[in-house]
């Protein structure tokens, strides 16, 4: 794709994402080369460390928003369907028995986009307003 087309493409996408309907939603993002389709249950399994793989067998590395972020609260509630303290208690059991470790966290949408854009195995979630072309949105959740 030459530069001009990609620019047009991004303008179209920008228009698309700036629509009222997408505004202020939670977007789950992966690397552009990641072709997996994920259900809510599958995203939840990856974020709870119950599987370390995407459905196509490639390794999955979940990335979390920081504990203080409002988006994490929304993700915990609507995707994982648990409270923050339930999730922390869950991870404490795994971490202190060597069974697993909680997802790596980043402090901003931009940091998550940068990480996901550079790591084929990564999966993250951000404000839909922050989405850019470096990453691919696989699903959206209402806030």
């Amino acid at each position: 794709m030459n530069l001009r087309y990609s620019k047009i493409y991004s303008i179209v996408l920008w228009l698309f994402f700036s629509q009222e309907v997408w505004a202020g939603q939670l977007a789950v993002i992966v690397h552009p080369d990641n072709t997996n389709q994920l259900s809510k249950a599958e995203i939840s399994r990856i974020y709870l460390g119950k599987t370390k793989f995407f459905p196509n067998g490639s390794k999955a590395e979940p990335i979390n928003q920081s504990v203080k972020s409002e988006l994490k609260m929304i993700f915990d509630k609507s995707v994982l369907e648990k409270s923050a303290s339930q999730i922390n208690a869950y991870w404490a059991r795994l971490l202190f028995t060597g069974k697993g470790k909680p997802p790596r966290t980043f402090n901003s949408d931009q940091a998550i986009i940068n990480y996901v854009a550079n790591n084929e195995n990564a999966i993250g979630y951000i404000n839909s307003d922050s989405v850019d072309l470096k990453v691919k949105v696989i699903t959206m959740f209402n806030r």
């Binding site: 249950a41 399994r45 119950k50 599987t51 370390k52 793989f53 504990v67 369907e81 648990k82 409270s83 923050a84 303290s85 339930q86 922390n88 208690a89 869950y90 404490a92 059991r93 971490l95 202190f96 028995t97 060597g98 069974k99 470790k101």
Partner: protein, 393 residues
């Protein structure tokens, strides 16, 4: 101050830059947990064999966490630190975990509770070498992580077994099938701990002897499976317990210092079923420990049932637990049960406050013998009030 000076080395952990490593290809993480618990026995009908002229409540057999008439904070307060190291070489996946725990019962001396190297044979198979817990009960592995369960402590009736450190090898397989995750492990090893504290204290007080225990030839299996709201676990274990009794030359019973050796064959089987419907929680566990010494069998049956309800930041709960142990030859029963009422209050994402009242009924038949040590003489009926704060960091 004594306490803080022992913890000083750990404060330096906070200032180390963990981004470096020898190979430049490892990831370091430091994390930890702490519980500060205070308690007081408010009523009791018997003087305790372990605390001179006082009531008592045994909250933790393994670490000899015993409350008495005074408000005390040492029986169950703990602080633990863990360093986890993961190799980032994709074709050489190795994890190292080191966990030390300082306990109020040990005057905040630290002990090395976990230290193992895990090699990932494949994405679903791992092998561990080193020290970890003997995974007898559901809560054995994370007994000290108060933040991870509703109560102040897992019930001592079910967690009465005094051996916990496994030095050995563990093979782990984990995978999932449809909605179900499962994890199976097979382990071999021995407990290489110091003289068993609880039995030693008890026999020193009651029988004027010291005891050395070695728990060896341990072989065990665990199988756990869970889906969203249901969590089940089964465990089995066998092992040999070598006991060395060193009787002291004291009083009329023993004329000279003598040493007596004996071996017990120990077998354990247990089952746990837990339901978590987000608001409503049911936690249950049952087990049998069989101890055989020269064809004489002692069966100890334990179980617990707990119901809790999560209501925003508050989780009130009720817990019932029971231990029933019988020696097939002497027919002396050790029989006690505890009913506990309490509430957990989540103060933040990582800190919870707890308040709990326990009432233990001891229906054991007290028997003082000069030749054999009873696993638990009568401690008496007792009511304990405890408060605690649990955190993870």
């Amino acid at each position: 101050m004594k306490i803080s000076s022992k913890l000083i080395p750990y404060f330096f952990l906070c200032f180390v830059d963990y981004s470096w490593s020898i190979t430049g290809m490892s990831e370091y993480n430091v994390s930890g947990f702490a519980s500060f618990v205070g308690g007081k026995v408010i009523s009791s009908d018997t003087n305790c064999p372990l605390v001179a002229n006082s009531d008592c409540f045994v909250a933790d057999y393994h670490n000899v966490g015993i409350y008495d008439k005074d408000i005390t904070f040492s029986p169950e307060s703990t602080i633990g630190f863990q360093i986890s190291v993961s190799s980032l070489f994709i074709d050489n996946p190795i994890n190292v975990i080191v966990q030390t725990i300082a306990r109020g019962t040990e005057e905040w001396e630290t002990s090395l509770d976990w230290a193992f190297i895990e090699y990932e044979l494949s994405p679903t198979w791992q092998i561990r070498f080193g020290r970890e817990r003997i995974p007898l009960g559901y809560y054995s592995d994370f007994y000290e992580i108060g933040y991870s369960y509703p109560w102040v402590r897992p019930p001592s009736e079910v967690y009465f077994w005094q051996f916990s450190k496994l030095d050995g090898i563990k093979i782990i397989h984990e995978n999932f099938f449809k909605d179900w995750n499962y994890r199976a492990s097979l382990y071999f090893g021995e407990e290489n701990d110091e003289a068993n504290k609880f039995f030693s204290e008890l026999s020193r007080f009651v029988f004027f002897e010291t005891l050395d225990y070695q728990f060896k030839n341990i072989v065990g299996l665990t199988f756990e499976s869970n889906k969203n709201w249901l969590d089940m676990r089964a465990a089995m274990m066998t092992g040999e317990l070598d006991i060395t009794q060193n009787r002291l030359k004291l009083g009329a019973f023993v004329l000279n210092d003598t040493t007596v050796f004996s071996t017990r064959d120990v077998t354990y089987g247990g089952l746990s079923i837990n339901v978590d419907l987000n608001n409503f929680i049911l936690l249950s566990e049952a087990g049998r420990l069989q101890s055989e010494i020269n064809l004489r069998t002692i069966n100890t049956d334990t179980y617990m049932v707990s119901v809790a309800y999560r209501w925003n930041n508050l989780t009130p709960y009720i817990l019932f637990s029971s231990l029933d142990s019988i020696d097939e030859i002497t027919l002396q029963p050790d029989k006690f049960s505890t009913i506990s009422l309490g509430i957990r209050w989540d103060l933040s994402y990582a800190t919870a406050f707890k308040f709990q009242i326990d009432r233990t009924n001891d229906d054991s038949e007290a028997l003082i013998s000069t030749t054999t040590v009873q696993d638990s003489p009568r401690f008496g009926n007792a009511t304990l009030v405890s408060i605690g704060i649990d955190t993870i960091f």
